[in-house]
């Protein structure tokens, strides 16, 4: 027998936790046990700890399970088109430098249909943060292969196994010239919170790859157990995020290391670049 669920009561019971000010009144539509709850939690807490005001944040998403994120965050939210969260978020930021802008996308959204926008937002170094919710599956359309689905994995679009080799999101971001690249894990909201804070604070394009299980459509590969077993924090004594070669090695060989993989703090953001160019004599 299940207890009737009252959202107001639930919220009231945890009122001391200020991060709930970022919560909207809407009940998340994600499946029970979804990793995206953990990600959302980490983003709320990061915003709270950074002292950001709700009205100064703009969260732009695409289509897919991750695309629903702005419904559940009490900020200026814009649920756009499949694959287009990045260029729309870039448009918001270019028009309004004062806003803190998030682009939220799933693996299908950011690496499949919208993959063409990534190199350009990275090379422009537009000061937005991309949260890539990667569960390696198309969840909202019921379990088809995505750009990060494992080779050979059986999915509803590839019942005999996925014949395509998955892309490596972190390696792509590094190759495209993102000035901040990190990986987090939905099962480690506390660790993810620190990564999110660093990503938001970073002035330039921040790419945050967040691994998560899809509890409904992937029962064998990226499950909670498998992910928990494989994930471990980056040993900061061995890896320097300022070193591109080390970052590339890590991207290639350490697919489940979590933490900040690469950071270039010297590079100018797009707006700073424009300002500097305006000063140069013609």
């Amino acid at each position: 027998m299940t207890q009737p669920f009252h959202l107001d009561e639930q919220i009231a019971s945890v009122k001391d936790k200020g991060f709930l000010s970022f919560r909207t009144g809407e009940l998340p539509t994600w499946c029970p046990g979804c990793g995206y709850f953990g990600i959302t939690d980490a983003i709320y807490k990061a915003c709270l700890e950074l002292g950001l005001k709700n009205e100064e944040i703009c969260a732009v998403s695409g289509i897919g399970c991750a695309g629903r994120f702005p419904v559940f965050m009490n900020v200026y939210g814009f649920h756009t088109l499949h694959g287009r969260s990045v260029p729309v978020a870039s448009g918001v930021k270019l028009a309004r430098e004062d806003l803190t802008v998030f682009a939220v996308a799933g693996d299908g959204d950011a690496l499949g249909i919208g993959g063409g926008h990534l190199p350009h937002v990275a090379r422009r170094n537009i000061d937005i943060t991309l949260f890539l919710f990667d569960n390696s599956i198309y969840g909202l359309t019921k379990g088809q292969s995505s750009a990060t689905t494992l080779y050979g994995q059986k999915t509803s679009s590839h019942p005999s196994g996925n014949p395509d080799t998955p892309v490596n999101p972190v390696k792509l971001a590094l190759a495209y010239g993102a000035s901040f690249v990190a990986r987090g894990f939905a099962g480690d909201p506390e660790g993810l919170k620190h990564i999110v804070k660093a990503a938001i604070v970073h002035k330039g394009f921040s790419f945050v790859h967040i691994t998560s299980p899809c509890v409904t459509f992937d029962k064998s590969n990226f499950t909670w157990n498998n992910l928990k077993e494989n994930h471990s924090p980056i040993d900061t004594g061995l890896h320097d995020p300022g070193n591109m070669e080390s970052a590339m090695r890590m991207a290639e060989h350490e697919r489940f290391k979590i933490g900040i993989i690469f950071k270039d703090e010297k590079r100018l953001s797009y707006h700073d670049n424009l300002r500097q160019m305006a000063l140069k004599p013609k």
Partner: protein, 588 residues
């Protein structure tokens, strides 16, 4: 001559200064108080010896079209000009380079191809250019000198105009051009006997130094900037690229943002992002790029975000004919995209109107929180017109945000159902005004819902905005015969100029003809069109597309048989074509 109306063509090969000679001539004529319209043609290839034609119509009483045929042909290149003789009128004038025969192969001097009745003037262009400037490059200026001497143009005024044109260049460049012009003028005055009847009279009666000489792309860009454009995102595509180039120079000066994106999808995405953020934004493209933007046109309507797209149409479908004229994107502008998606479509009929159209587009997009499509075409984008500097838009056009009051904010419903369809909108940064916008169907708070009542009410609300927009559109332009007419020409976009002119000519011939055109295609002044239709025995719809896209659209208002003129020549509509059709129709 009661009303001077002269079409001059300069024909040469790329690199001979053909287009710049045309530009110098039209600038000077405009300064002297004449109306001019130029429509040049040059090869799509940037290099090589392709044929260039600078085409300018000069008139005392307003020009609506560049004219299909030429009164004067100035031949800088014989081979190219032989082909161009086909547009020279029966009693036309040819100014050509009478180089010694050894310069030509047999049959390759343009003068050998002249029809009886035409008047040739042989001028030693090459020889005089070398004499005046030391090389043959200034033949174009010698030709302008000869032209001025033949047609009674004030030598000193023209010289001054050339000096102003080259004002910032080195003295040697100015001297070489001016001297070549004077050389051509003096030689012609002394050696040529005038045989034709064309003459410019009353020169310098009304000097207009402050005239703008611009094309439709420039006028559109100026209008958008005057209306407070903040962000322009674009991707290079003929014939809209010029708008992007202007924005790349002008926006940074005004604290705005210009972005060259990776594709047209990204362009419109940036425009919609900026619109969501509360700033005025626009993109410009042509048919192929507009196709890529289709999905976003629906989002702008659904999520109620202001967005302006300029589509300068070219020959289609697919990549089509990038440097040719057509009006065949009306269907995609009106009906492109999925679902029931009301959209505003504005189609300026002339260069001057492009400015006003851009102002209105940004204003309506912002006030009604929706998508506005500005339909230009290859001809409008590239034809050059003189015009008075436009007056700055009234303040009401500069800030049209409708924001919620404190009471509405206390229980804020971003997509509140209202009588006029406009829901007051908060701009990001407004405390307590947070909302969620989506391309999904939604309730008044933006929450995704799929129930029948919500979808019905929201669809109705989105369509209701058009009632308000319809009250703000300029009155249609009606010209020609004022009573019960035999024929009513209903035209749109850049073909409207040719239609008005054809109706004028028909009236002169005693045909009771009238003309109707509207700057707005959607919403459309339906009742005015019905009134117009009632007093016309026949209706003719001329347009530059094969399927009659505009005729099909107005058919649902008029419910009567219509004559159609559908051309896909790749050239602008000519008044001669419409007049011919008017004369062919049987008026029973």
């Amino acid at each position: 001559m009661s009303r001077l109306d002269l079409v001059v063509e300069i024909c040469g090969s790329a690199g001979e200064g053909t287009i710049s000679a045309g530009e110098i001539l039209s600038r000077f004529m405009s300064e002297e108080g004449y109306d001019i319209m130029s429509f040049d043609s040059y090869p799509a290839e940037i290099r090589g010896f392709g044929k260039c034609v600078a085409h300018t119509r000069i008139s005392r009483g307003g020009v609506l079209t560049p004219g299909k045929f030429a009164d004067v042909l100035i031949a800088l290149n014989d081979i190219h000009s032989i082909g161009q003789l086909s547009v020279l009128k029966e009693k036309g004038v040819l100014i050509y380079d009478n180089k010694p025969a050894r310069y030509h192969l047999e049959d390759q001097s343009v003068v050998g191809w002249l029809e009886p009745g035409m008047t040739p003037y042989g001028i030693p262009l090459t020889e005089l250019s070398i004499k005046a400037s030391g090389n043959a490059r200034a033949r174009n200026m010698v030709a302008l000198g000869a032209f001025s001497a033949l047609f009674g143009i004030d030598r000193d005024a023209f010289t001054e105009s050339i000096r102003r044109r080259y004002g910032k260049k080195q003295q040697a460049v100015i001297d070489s051009n001016v001297n070549s012009f004077l050389e051509g003028y003096a030689w012609t005055l002394e050696n040529v006997r005038k045989m034709d009847s064309f003459r410019f009279d009353g020169m310098s009666a009304e000097v207009k130094r402050d005239q703008l000489i611009i094309n439709g792309n420039e006028a559109t860009a100026m209008g958008a900037l005057a209306a407070g454009l903040h962000l322009y995102a674009g991707y290079p595509i003929t014939p809209a690229t010029k708008i992007m180039e202007i924005m790349s120079k002008e926006l940074p000066k005004r604290g705005g943002i210009f972005l060259q994106t990776e594709d047209e999808i990204s362009s419109i995405a940036h425009v919609i992002g900026a619109g969501f953020a509360g700033e005025r934004a626009m993109t410009g493209t042509s048919g192929p790029g507009f196709c890529l933007m289709s999905e976003f046109t629906g989002l702008a309507v659904m999520a109620e975000v202001p967005a302006v797209i300029v589509d300068s149409q070219r020959g289609g479908p697919s990549t089509g004919m990038p440097t040719k004229h057509e009006q065949s994107d009306l269907n995609i502008a009106l009906y492109g995209g999925s679902g029931d998606s009301p959209r505003v479509v504005i189609a300026p009929t002339c260069v001057e109107e492009c400015y006003q159209a851009a102002v209105l587009a940004l204003y309506i997009a912002e006030k009604y929180q929706t998508l506005v499509i500005l339909l230009l075409d290859f001809f409008l984008s590239n034809s050059i017109k003189n015009m008075d500097p436009p007056t700055a838009p009234e303040t009401k056009y500069l800030n049209a945000h409708i924001v919620p009051d404190a009471e509405a904010l206390s229980d804020y419903k971003r997509f509140r159902i209202t009588e006029n369809g406009i829901s007051p909108r908060t701009i990001p940064g407004t405390e307590g005004g947070m909302f969620f916008a989506t391309g999904l169907e939604h309730d008044e708070r933006g929450k995704p819902v799929y129930d029948t009542v919500s979808h019905t009410r929201m669809t109705e609300k989105r369509f209701r905005k058009h009632k308000g927009i319809a009250t703000e559109i300029p009155a249609p332009e009606v010209s020609g015969y004022e009573g019960d007419a035999d024929i009513g020409v209903v035209a749109w976009g850049s073909s409207a100029g040719a239609a008005r002119e054809a109706v004028e000519y028909a009236n002169e011939k005693g045909i009771k003809a009238a003309c109707f055109s509207s700057l707005f295609i959607s919403p459309f002044p339906e009742s005015e069109l019905k009134l117009f239709s009632k007093r016309c025995r026949k209706i003719l719809v001329p347009e530059m597309n094969y399927s009659g896209q505009f005729a099909n659209m107005i058919a649902r208002y008029l419910e009567r048989p219509m004559e159609r003129l559908n051309l896909v020549t790749g050239l602008p509509m000519a008044s001669e074509d419409i007049l011919k059709k008017i004369e062919e129709i049987e008026y029973l």
